[in-house]
């Protein structure tokens, strides 16, 4: 299906500066398009740059030594990387909002929920305090909080993890965003709670037709939620494909290894295939393909020259000499 | 006020600058007058503020014992007799007095029509009442004045006779400390408490308010019996920090400051609106040498007169005056100050290092020894002690200066001979009644070893003792003078101390302050004080 592009990320590069002159590149050459109404998964191991990608898009790298040094992220015609502060503020929380991994720490501990929600709503919608409060209560009900009035009066620490995440979701959705970035929204939660939240997100996404960029390292979650998936490794996209294709015919050795090394319920194996070695350090990236040191198919070429992210079929891209060359 | 551990009396006070100031006393006075005339400065109000370094301990004149307390209470309480500026005893509440032949009874004829602040009349009964109070309560400092008395007899309403156990040449001086308080106040159950908050004397000022440690404010006594002050009020404010006192005088917050630190004199010297008064000395500074103290090897260096003399020859009093007192001190010429009656001049120990070294060699201390010097921990005292240390280092004596709180030193120095740890003590003494006996007995008499007195040199010279004891009972001034001269000569020659110098107070006040008077030792008298105000 051909769809309207909502967010277009091009050649995004973000570096972390330890001083004026020295820096490490956390993500590089990140390019992808996101369509309206889709759930795009972003998977990869810890430290591969998933969060940095999302923060770069949201322009939330202030107060970190990080800076977007190249590329663009265009949302509805506005290049977020170059937009002015006011423009960005207008978009953030409005057209584009975000949920974070640790719901507990993402809420201001010394502010009651009602204040935090009203603040969010009134920043983007012309409402009185009372209207905003009513809207907040509505949103809480929508995310399945049985007793919104009570929760509104609570401080964050009085809520459980699942509740807080729902509040975060309600807050993120309260201004009808077109794009919701969810950075590992359920990692800190229990399985049964995770099931609740994923269920809820799916439902809301269907109802409102918004797009979700879902960041996770849990392939199970990806399989369940996403329409398309981006796999990142060491700061770069290594594969991009519709979810079914990715699981059925993973083309990058890393993706293959990843999928194989996840235990599946009911598979009955005692020993799992695994990817040896570990993720390279940002400061000392190998030359050539970044996965080469761990790849069982690696050739000299892989070790010397870095492959491009190329289409290997109409809707699948891969960054690997082996697949690209046959 | 008596020295020893008394902070108020010593402090950063100074004294007529050696030769220059006293020699040209007249010139100084003149220049003061000229300055006063030249100045057009006026006080903004008619309230006089005096910045003092310390506070009175208590306003009950029979309890308080230190100089500041007396300075403050003297403005509210009067005595039968008092001193003039030249240490002469002059009448005050008593208009005249006479001594009996045997020198054992003194009869006073009192001024009439004087009323206490509380309205009670002043008469012979009130003198008796003070004596009675002293008899009843042995913890009062009043004790010291009356302990040689036998009785007080009321002859008539305005005549009273004080009978002594035996003749005592110090009586007349000591009576200046016998402050007369209203019998009504003294009869109260807790007289001291009452007197802490109210004045009940006959003085020119009446207590109006007091903040302990802060200030004591008095207003003019409208019913004062003789010509009194013209100021509306008199406030003694406590300003412990030297620099702050100077600043207050400069800004006019204070009209009079006392004492002026010698280091700061130059700062205000040239201020046309400030007059500096250098008063004659009664405070005498010395270092006691414990004659019984033994070195680890058993030798007693200070038992040897040669060593003691060597110390005095090694010590440069002139430099002492210059370095420690900025020139505001005087070379010692006897064992007490020349402003005290019966002073007899001695030949100064002029600094002579060769002689000092020779004496040390003779005594077998050519290589010197280590000795400890205790001193109060105020800046000026320590400064002097370090000077002593430096001087003695010239004859290889290694002095360790141990500055300590006066209270702690008082404890140390009151230990009896068998327990004493005192080797050398940097100290000063000023007799509160400005008499010769009081200037010597407590610190040099053989019966005044601690804890009886402060003879921490543990110097016991029979002849000297005898002279003091005899003189005390004498009634003839010439005889007394002779005895005391002999005693002074003995002590000077024997030198149980290092004689350092006499210093005294420097007061400073604004040119618009008038009528300020002094008692010996620079104690101010505000009886006729006025302010040239707008």
């Amino acid at each position: 299906m051909s769809q309207e592009v909502l967010l277009s990320v091009k050649d995004l590069r973000t570096e972390f500066f330890s001083s004026k002159t020295s820096s490490v590149t956390a993500i590089k050459d990140v390019s992808f398009d996101m369509y309206r109404g889709e759930v795009l998964g972003l998977v990869g191991e810890s430290g591969c740059g998933k969060s940095v990608t999302s923060l770069s898009i949201m322009q939330l790298l202030k107060d970190t030594p990080g800076k977007v040094t190249n590329g663009s992220a265009t949302l509805d015609g506005v290049n977020l990387v170059e937009a002015s502060d006011t423009q960005i503020r207008d978009i953030r929380g409005g057209k584009m909002s975000m949920i974070f991994q640790e719901p507990m720490s993402a809420l201001n501990p010394s502010m009651r929920i009602d204040k935090q929600m009203i603040e969010t709503i009134r920043l983007h919608q012309d409402m009185t305090k009372e209207q905003a409060l009513a809207h907040a209560a509505d949103m809480l009900k929508k995310v399945g909080i049985p007793d919104p009035a009570r929760v509104l009066k609570n401080y964050p620490h009085q809520l459980s993890g699942g509740m807080s995440q729902r509040v975060m979701i309600a807050m993120a959705l309260s201004n009808n965003p077109e794009l919701l970035i969810a950075d590992e929204p359920t990692t800190a939660l229990d399985v049964t709670i995770q099931a609740q939240i994923l269920d809820l997100m799916k439902k809301l996404q269907k109802e409102d037709g918004s797009s979700i960029l879902l960041i996770t390292h849990d392939l199970g979650v990806v399989a369940e939620m996403c329409t398309r998936v981006i796999v990142m490794y060491a700061g770069k996209i290594v594969e991009m494909a519709p979810v079914e294709k990715l699981f059925a015919t993973p083309s990058h050795p890393y993706t293959q290894g990843l999928i194989a090394s996840v235990p599946k319920l009911g598979s009955g194996v005692k020993v799992l295939p695994s990817i040896p070695g570990s993720v390279p350090d940002l400061a000392s990236m190998p030359t050539g393909c970044r996965f080469a040191p761990r790849c069982k198919y690696a050739t000299d070429k892989c070790r010397e020259q870095e492959p491009e992210l190329l289409d290997i079929s109409e809707d699948q891209k891969c960054r690997c000499w082996r697949t690209q060359e046959g | 006020a008596c020295g020893g551990g008394d902070k108020a009396a010593e402090s950063t006070t100074a004294q007529a600058a050696g030769e220059t100031t006293t020699a040209d006393a007249a010139a100084v006075k003149e220049s003061k007058a000229a300055k006063q005339e030249a100045s057009t400065a006026k006080s903004p109000d008619n309230d006089i503020v005096i910045a003092l370094q310390a506070d009175a301990t208590h306003l009950d004149p029979h309890v308080s014992s230190n100089g500041v307390s007396n300075q403050i209470t003297n403005e509210m309480y009067e005595t039968l007799l008092t001193f003039d500026e030249d240490t002469n005893v002059v009448p005050l509440l008593a208009k005249e007095w006479s001594v009996s032949e045997d020198g054992k009874s003194y009869t006073f004829v009192l001024n009439e029509g004087i009323k206490f602040h509380d309205g009670e009349p002043f008469n012979a009964e009130s003198v008796r009442a003070v004596y009675d109070r002293g008899l009843k309560d042995s913890s009062l400092t009043l004790q010291r004045t009356i302990n040689a008395w036998e009785d007080v007899v009321v002859d008539s309403e305005y005549q009273v006779t004080i009978k002594l156990k035996e003749p005592n040449n110090t009586f007349i001086n000591k009576i200046t400390q016998f402050r007369i308080v209203s019998p009504k106040a003294m009869a109260m159950e807790n007289a001291s408490d009452y007197l802490a908050k109210n004045s009940a004397g006959t003085g020119p000022f009446v207590l109006s308010e007091r903040v302990d440690g802060g200030y004591t404010k008095m207003v003019r006594n409208e019913n004062y019996w003789q010509e009194g002050p013209s100021v509306d009020s008199l406030t003694f404010q406590v300003v412990p920090e030297d620099a702050a006192r100077i600043a207050m005088l400069q800004t006019g917050e204070a009209d009079v400051i006392f004492p002026v630190p010698t280091t700061d004199v130059s700062q205000i010297e040239n201020d046309p609106s400030i007059i500096i008064d250098v008063a004659p000395a009664t405070t005498y500074r010395y270092v006691t040498l414990n004659t019984e103290w033994a070195l680890p090897d058993g030798r007693k260096p200070f038992a040897d007169k040669r060593v003691r003399q060597a110390f005095n020859y090694a010590f440069d009093s002139e430099a002492y005056a210059k370095v420690v007192f900025n020139g505001y001190a005087k070379e010692p010429t006897s064992i007490f100050s020349d402003s005290i009656r019966f002073y007899a001049e001695q030949t100064p120990y002029k600094p002579d290092l060769e002689k000092a070294k020779a004496l040390m060699k003779e005594a077998g201390f050519e290589d010197g020894f280590d000795v400890e010097l205790i001193v109060d921990n105020t800046t000026i005292e320590q400064k002097g002690a370090v000077f002593v240390q430096q001087q003695l280092s010239q004859i290889n004596v290694n002095v360790k200066v141990l500055p300590n709180e006066s209270t702690a030193n008082a404890e140390k120095t009151s230990a009896p001979l068998e327990d004493t740890t005192v080797q050398m003590w940097y100290v000063n003494w000023a007799s509160g009644s400005y008499e010769a006996d009081g200037s010597m007995r407590n610190i040099l008499h053989g019966e005044k070893f601690p804890p009886e007195g402060y003879n921490t040199a543990f110097w016991n010279n029979e002849e000297f003792n005898q002279l003091l004891d005899d003189a005390l009972k004498m009634t003839d001034d010439a005889q007394i003078a002779e005895a005391y001269a002999k005693a002074q000569a003995i002590a000077w020659e024997e030198c149980p101390w290092i004689f350092l110098g006499n210093d005294n107070t420097i007061n400073a006040y604004k040119t618009y302050v008038t009528g300020l008077q002094y008692k010996p030792g620079g104690t101010m008298v505000f009886r006729t004080v006025g302010l040239d105000h707008e």
Binding site: V191, T192, G220, V222, A223, L265 | -
Partner: protein
């Protein structure tokens, strides 16, 4: 095959005091572990699963004598160990080692790898330095590291490598029982498999018994022989692996199993979505701990704690649905 019980918990409970009264006496208690009983057989992997805060780690600590139970008994190799002193426990620790969830946190950042691994030897043996070094190097090889790493500090290693160091340390004294408290949940997906495989290999080689604590049901299925499901400090179901996954009896086990996301987009299974959150462990519900969230809740569930019943051999469940 004769099954030897190596570890046995009998009605073990543990509470933690929270809040203090005027006199410093605790006013409230967290009921972390309630009336837990199970046996672990020699050579098997016994897993404990359950959601966060349900008392898994506390159970592990109780077994390892890091905590003392309030009541109940813990038998290890035929000895009751729950109330012995630290000194009496020390020799027993040779046979019982623990691996922890957070590999970074469990290694003292200020010690070298060699020091970390030889520490148990220092405590339990009086070997010479060379002997210890030999053992350390050997162990490093066993867990897939090289002896070059011995002189490095933990922060120079990746998460998976750190966990291997932790495992090597646990193996230094040849333990019989290894308690693994979520040993892989802090690791990256691709690393998890490495560590799981290593654990499996070691078990086969050294005939280890594992008490394996995890919240990941897919992992547990792979590695365990028998499984206990905990909820709110209670063991609600105990069963051999096959039975539990094929025929989960307790409604909570069912929900838990169905909530696991399957990494296969072609499968779409029906989920049981539980309402609400896990209740507080301070005020335990009077009846069945799961009653408040249970779809099959009956009036008696609210009133009465269910007994543990053996529905089929080796398959225990504590639920009123299966009352005999």
């Amino acid at each position: 095959m004769e099954k030897n019980v190596i570890l046995s918990l009998k009605n073990v409970s543990k509470t933690f005091p929270v809040g203090k009264s005027l006199l410093g006496r605790p006013t409230k208690f967290v009921h972390a572990v309630n009336d837990v009983s199970f046996d672990v057989y020699e050579g098997e992997t016994f897993s404990i699963v359950g959601e966060s805060g349900c008392g898994k780690s506390t159970t592990g600590r109780l077994i390892n004598h890091l905590l003392i139970p309030d009541s109940g008994e813990i038998w290890f190799q035929g000895k009751e160990i729950s109330h012995i002193s630290q000194d009496e426990m020390r020799p027993i620790r040779k046979d019982m080692q623990m691996i922890f969830q957070d590999p970074a946190g469990s290694l003292n950042p200020r010690m070298r790898v060699s020091e970390l691994i030889e520490e148990p030897l220092l405590i339990h043996t009086d070997m010479s330095a060379e002997e210890r070094a030999k053992i350390v190097n050997n162990l490093l090889k066993i867990v897939g590291l090289s002896d070059k790493h011995a002189s490095r500090y933990p922060h120079e290693f990746s998460g998976g490598q750190k966990q291997r160091i932790g495992i090597a340390r646990a193996l230094t004294v040849n333990p019989h029982l290894v308690i693994a408290d979520e040993p892989i949940s802090a690791l990256d997906v691709s690393i998890q498999a490495q560590v799981l495989n290593l654990l499996h290999k070691l078990q086969e080689e050294y005939k280890l018994t594992y008490v394996f604590i995890s919240h990941d049901l897919s992992v547990v299925e792979m590695i365990s022989d028998r499984i206990a499901v905990m909820y709110l400090g209670f063991v609600v179901e105990t069963a051999p692996k096959e039975m539990l996954y094929k025929t989960p009896l307790h409604p909570y086990t069912e929900a838990l199993l169905s909530a696991v996301p399957i990494p296969d987009p072609t499968l779409h299974k029906e989920r049981i979505i539980l309402e609400g959150d896990i209740p507080s462990t301070i005020n335990l519900p009077k009846g069945c701990p799961f009653a408040a969230r249970c779809k099959k809740c009956r009036p008696e569930c609210l009133e009465q704690r269910p007994e543990r019943v053996e529905v089929e051999p080796g398959h225990f469940v504590a639920c009123h649905l299966y009352k005999k």
